[in-house]
Amino acid sequence: MDEPAVLLWLVPALPLAGALVLALRGRHWPERWIARLACATVAASALLVVIMGADYLAAPGARVQVLWSWFAVGEFSPAVALRLDGLSLVMVAVITGVGFLVHLYSSAYMAGEEGYGRYFAWLNLFVAAMLVLVLADDLLLLFLGWELVGLCSYLLIGFWYRDADNGAAARKALIMTMAGDVPLVVGLLLLFSSLGSTAIPTLLDQAAARWPVGAALPTTAALLLAFGAIGKSAQLPLHTWLPSAMAGPTPVSALLHAATMVTAGVYLIARLHPLFALAPPVLDALAWLGAITLLLAGLHALVQNDIKRVLAWSTVSQLGFMFMALGVGAVTAAMFHLFVHAFFKALLFLAAGIAILALGHEQDLRRMGALQKRAPWAFWGFLAGGASLAAVPFLSAGFFSKELILAALWQRGGGALWAVAWVGAVLTAAYITRAFIIGFLSAPVTPATGATGWRLHLPVALLVPPSLAVGWLAPPFGALLVPASGATLPATETAFLPALLAALAPLLGIALAWYALHRRPASAPRHLAPVEDTGFDRFYWAWVRTPYQVLARRLAEDPFDRPFMAIVQLTRVLWQVLSATQDGRLRRYALTLVAGTVVLLAMVMT
């Protein structure tokens, strides 16, 4: 192994150490030291990633570092092993990079909050867990990171624990994702027990070697694993936790949406793509699921008035893009969109955060407005991020990644999927334009009060260039991923007409939004989708949560106890009956004696 890769373990270990130290001692430290430690650990990780990335680019090829054998029971022997290849390098870069910026941003955003140390402990842990997830060479270790990520999301969403609503949102996030994890676990059980290994490369090789395409076992396994990914990446029907997760602090949303949590599902499918390739029906289903999610979430984003909820639904929608790409086997396109999305979504959230802070925790678009002067960092950051999200042709990174996905869909998925994606692209541009116009351009309502500072501005400033420019990196990016995921690059030559249409889609969306708002300012097209609820929540509430609570309440007294209590009652009654015979009457005693003897005699007289 090459020299820099020896330090691979430090990449997750540094934030983890930071998390541990802060969790144990953070309460007693001043905020400055907490922020410094937390940022430093992630920055160090990021630096290491840069060094290792350079090393990797110089000499491509997976590096595996086995830290220790976790345990070995029979042939079941998962190892704590890390793997650096193109796929994980991309993820690690995004996580540490965006993670560092979010840390930096948070140090100012969260200033003065109760539990500052706790916040950074969890944030560090979040990054560490995600790093473990993406670096894991062993599927069980990946699962460790997976669950830890879920836990951290829970802790951070519910960070302001005094408000019970935040707790509810946090629980919803963890429980919904864990509902997806149950099939995932069963899938893991299936994989481990039928393939006899937990190491990802071995598993994938074994699967390819043993199972023909479309066989029952890989299809089942892939389906089960897909549930986990759906839950984590907030796809239909397990998507409703993500909008609720806005209850957490805004930087957390940035991290969660951009780098750490929701991308895990995409990453899982990308990482295990050879296995999914053996299950075409599952892939098809994923593609269509993505398509529906894309449209539905886009419509939702169009009608939200809370700026963070717009962004949340936008994430769901963008993840739909990625799933569509994964569904048609365009792993590179999906990963590239993930990569780009990480930058612009982080940018959007951080910019929105500045705006929110500047307006004294005002999140309603309709009460914002005129931010160009009042919060220029927010304004320009949001504009850049929005442009990238809307995929303004050539000027933004989002354009290139979206173009890749649409091309892949055109090539492999057929017209219907492409058309849905195109509509989605139009929607995307429309909703973000609407949000920008209402929230940033319209007349001011709420006076600006909040403080700002360089630690808020710097991350925004640093995120603008990649949001706009990383799109040009598509070809080398594809080359980086190929050996890792086993996916092929999409054909470079795309039909002209679809490409043109795809390029026009964002413009169309922007124009539509502009036109509609010009006609009826500050209104939401309510007939398109409900603002708050998708019906899914109501469904879960009525058919899952309430029945479970009713069931629990009914059972609370433990009905199995009743038979035993009945026995106790019975003995009591027997005692009363028998005790009544001991009433002190000599004649009755004598009668019992003689009658008893009569009975006993009768028993032998047969």
Binding site: L591, V594, L601
Partner: protein, 166 residues
């Protein structure tokens, strides 16, 4: 022999029933004596003259006299007889009578399975005496202890004036 036995048995049974059912204590005791004498006759008819003699002397004589003394001490007069009638309505005999009958029936069923060989011949006082002071010596000694125990109990319980009405 046969007729002796039958006559004595019938007498005994009738007297026993009356002894148990009378309300007047003295009457009951008299019937008891008759029943005991009847049994003595049966003993004699079974070739146990010594036992018959002891039955007459000790049972019908000594033990019944004890009862009579007690009756005298308690002065059970007509009032007691009335009280007795009150305590003992005819219905109160139903259960006990039934149980007694059942018991008797079971015993008869058991007894009827035995061989019909009867005893003949007499076991006289000498034989019994030889047995008592031969192989049964220890038993006799123990019986004396038993009587001693009875004596001590009666003496202890009876101390402090038996028969003085409260």
């Amino acid at each position: 022999m046969e007729t002796d036995f039958m006559f004595a048995a019938a007498l005994t049974l009738i007297a026993a029933v009356l002894a148990v059912t009378r309300a007047n204590a003295v009457h009951a005791l008299l019937y008891l004596i008759v029943a005991l004498l009847g049994v003595a006759v049966v003993f004699a008819s079974l070739g146990a003259p010594f036992a018959a003699l002891l039955q007459v002397i000790i049972y019908a004589g000594a033990i019944t006299v004890l009862f009579v003394f007690v009756v005298m001490m308690l002065n059970l007069g007509p009032a007691a007889e009335e009280c007795e009638r009150h305590w003992q309505p005819a219905g109160s005999w139903l259960g006990p009578g039934l149980v007694g009958l059942l018991l008797f029936g079971e015993l008869v069923l058991i007894i009827m399975h035995g061989d019909a060989a009867g005893a003949d011949g007499v076991v006289d006082a000498k034989q019994v005496g030889m047995a008592l002071f031969g192989p049964y010596l220890i038993v006799v000694e123990l019986a004396s202890l038993l009587l001693l125990a009875g004596l001590v109990v009666v003496w202890h319980v009876g101390q402090g004036g038996i028969g003085e009405r409260r």
